[in-house]
């Protein structure tokens, strides 16, 4: 078990190093100096108090989205639809946040939060039920439901729920001032929401690694038949994983709008969920690993925006590096297995001979 973990850490390190090397090669191939690129990236991630704030916020964002992917995957359902769940959570809570502005925050905020997690969870419930009851592939349904949710929210924010305020293109009414979260470092994205994100992340980590429910979910995800045979409600456990995942995405949608945008805007997210999903995939859905590595990928991600503005290297490079890391780790696993098989075969041949 122990050597297994070291082997994993080694392969992760090698894959990340190779991924960064390939990133450098791509920069060189497109006529940019890799050292310039990476130093701009470092400056962007840690250069000032403001960039530290942005990097830390991105870390928390990756943490909650990564864990959301992991929870569903551990329970056996690959949730690619977090983006849509986040949009619905964002619009539902923002709408209430504007309507309930007169109420005391002690009542209004929990109501908004409830609306956010319920709409996220409900939207995740649909593909979960389709998967568990009808065996419909969840990757296809969740990704198509992303598009549906984004179109729906864009319709609402441009139509029935459009604000009358001037100068706002596609957004809902402003959320009550008393309900908004304050920024911890002025000018950066770091706001009070990180305490809530941290609490949710720890709760989910505890649930998945320290409770029987988490253990049963893991069992169901690994072998659904076995879990049914020993008397577990495999269907409910799978759906439960998706519900938690959807609720987390809905909550993040609310945090984004209540802290940074002050209203729901159709462009509030630039595929935030997919960033976290990639981290979760790289970390093979290990909750602790996701929490620890979020900082590294958060720095890469935030640094890339500065790299883009100062060196004209598109920040998409980070997505390329991340997917290359996934490919490398996937290939490495298979490669080692082949080497081992080969060795075993040679040993048996020698024994027989």
């Amino acid at each position: 078990m122990r050597s297994e973990r070291w082997k994993y850490i080694l392969s992760l390190t090698v894959s990340i190093a190779l991924g960064l090397l390939i990133g450098a090669l791509i920069m060189a191939a497109t006529g940019h100096d890799p050292l310039d690129g990476y130093s701009a990236l470092l400056r962007g991630a840690f250069g000032s108090k403001r960039s530290w704030g942005n990097t830390l916020y991105k870390t928390f964002q990756l943490c909650i989205t990564g864990l959301a992917t992991a929870v569903a995957s551990i329970a056996g359902i690959f949730n690619v639809g977090g983006e849509g769940q986040m949009y619905l959570g964002a619009i539902a809570s923002s709408y209430l946040g504007a309507r309930l502005a007169g109420l005391s925050p002690w009542i209004a905020l929990p109501v908004c939060f409830l609306a956010a997690i319920l709409s996220g969870a409900l939207y995740a419930w649909i593909p979960a039920v389709l998967k568990v009851k009808l065996k419909i592939n969840e990757v296809i349904t969740t990704i198509l439901m992303n598009s549906i949710a984004i179109y729906l929210c864009s319709y609402l924010a441009n139509g029935p729920l459009k604000t009358t305020e001037r100068g706002i293109n596609s957004g809902t009414d402003a959320i009550g001032k008393a309900l908004r979260f304050n920024r911890l470092i002025p000018g950066s994205n770091l706001s009070e929401t990180v305490f809530y994100i941290a609490a949710i992340s720890l709760l989910v980590w505890y649930l998945m690694s320290r409770t029987t429910t988490g253990y049963r979910m893991r069992l169901t995800g690994q072998n659904e038949r076995f879990s049914r045979f020993i008397g577990l409600r495999a269907d409910l456990l799978g759906i439960g994983g998706m519900l938690i995942s959807g609720a987390m995405c809905g909550a993040l949608g609310m945090f984004e709008c209540f802290a940074l945008q002050s209203r729901f805007k159709t462009d509030f997210s630039s595929e935030f969920y997919f960033d976290g999903m990639l981290v979760a995939m790289i970390m093979r859905y290990k909750p602790l690993g996701i929490i620890l590595m979020s900082f590294f990928f958060g720095a890469l991600k935030m640094g890339a925006t500065t790299m883009q503005s100062s060196t004209k290297i598109s920040s998409e490079l980070i997505l390329i590096i991340q997917s290359v890391i996934i490919f490398l780790m996937a290939a490495e696993e298979g490669f080692l297995r082949r080497v081992q098989e080969h060795r075993v075969r040679r040993q048996t041949v020698q024994k027989e001979g």
């Binding site: 389709l130 439901m145 997917s323 490919f327 996937a330």
Partner: protein, 302 residues
């Protein structure tokens, strides 16, 4: 409400135009599906193909070179997918989803960093030569112009139908997914057939991408496949990997898309844009419910 505003020749044309994207990608997807692999990554292959086609056609000034570039890129990506799944036994879904993110990121990166443009590809000099259009006269006051790729896709459906059900290669391909051991017992390598399946998958997805950027539109735009690759996978499941049935499923998708566009006077356009995706999910639910009922009926009989 006037029904003729929704059901007319223009809608029919749009149906075929949109369906062709899904048909070509679906043909690719069903080749890998026949070999027992679900290729979620076709969305990425389409995006990469579309980009290669637009750049190739612009650089050489010939649409044929553009199509060849797209096919080449598709083949490369198909090989890559085959190596990952067949040789290294990677999880198809993880590879597929990572693959789609990779393709969108790579094409966007090259567009922004090399061509210094964002959003879509609009070269300052030269032009992107699109696929030739066939003029079939006029019907009901609408001029009928279709892209060359539309009839080509129909020919491909017929050819694939013959290939899959009338040639030994097609049967071996199917066997490599369904009964790899029996295929091995007759001296054929299931791995080789799986490679064939994934390479052909890449080829057709490249063609679909070429049609996207040189036929359906006349340039490349970022993330231009717009999840149609996933729709194609759904159509392949719906059509049980049979080319003709997949064609019909794709037509249904194309029709929902085209009819939605015609309904923009009645319903908000942002809502009609979501129709094809809702339709695709409903299609899958319908099929699953029917299958379940069949299974239950069978269990009741025995």
């Amino acid at each position: 409400m006037d029904l003729s505003s929704i059901f007319n020749v223009g809608t029919l044309l749009n149906t075929f135009n949109t369906a062709t994207i899904v048909i070509l990608a679906g043909l690719g997807c069903l080749m890998s599906e026949q070999a027992g692999m679900m290729c979620i990554g076709i969305d990425g292959m389409m995006t990469a193909g579309a980009f290669a086609a637009a750049v190739g056609s612009w650089y050489s000034g010939s649409w044929l070179v553009g199509v060849l570039c797209a096919v080449l890129v598709g083949l490369l990506f198909g090989c890559f997918y085959g190596v990952m799944v067949v040789r290294y036994h990677s999880d198809e879904f993880i590879i597929g989803v990572a693959f789609n993110i990779f393709a969108v990121a790579l094409t966007t990166f090259i567009l922004r960093t090399v061509f210094l443009q964002s959003g879509s590809f609009h070269p300052a000099t030269g032009e992107i030569k699109t696929l030739p259009y066939l003029s079939l006269g006029a019907l009901g006051g609408t001029n009928i112009n279709i892209s060359l790729m539309v009839p080509v896709s129909w020919v491909l459906i017929a050819l694939l139908q013959i290939f899959l059900y009338r040639t030994p290669y097609g049967i071996w391909l199917h066997a490599s997914g369904e009964h790899p051991d029996s295929l091995r017992s007759v001296g054929r390598s299931p791995e080789k057939m799986k490679y064939l399946g994934s390479v052909l998958c890449g080829l057709f997805c490249g063609l679909s991408g070429a049609y996207l950027s040189l036929g359906y539109l006349s340039t490349f735009t970022e993330n231009m496949s717009a999840e149609r690759g996933y729709v194609a996978v759904a159509c392949v499941i719906f059509g049980r990997s049979n080319p003709v049935l997949v064609f019909l499923a794709a037509l249904l998708f194309g029709f929902i898309d085209a009819a939605g566009m015609r309904m923009q006077g009645l319903v908000d356009p942002t809502l009609t844009a979501a129709f094809p995706y809702v339709g695709t999910i409903l299609m899958m639910v319908f099929l699953a419910l029917r299958n379940q009922r069949k299974l239950k009926a069978k269990a009741g009989h025995s």
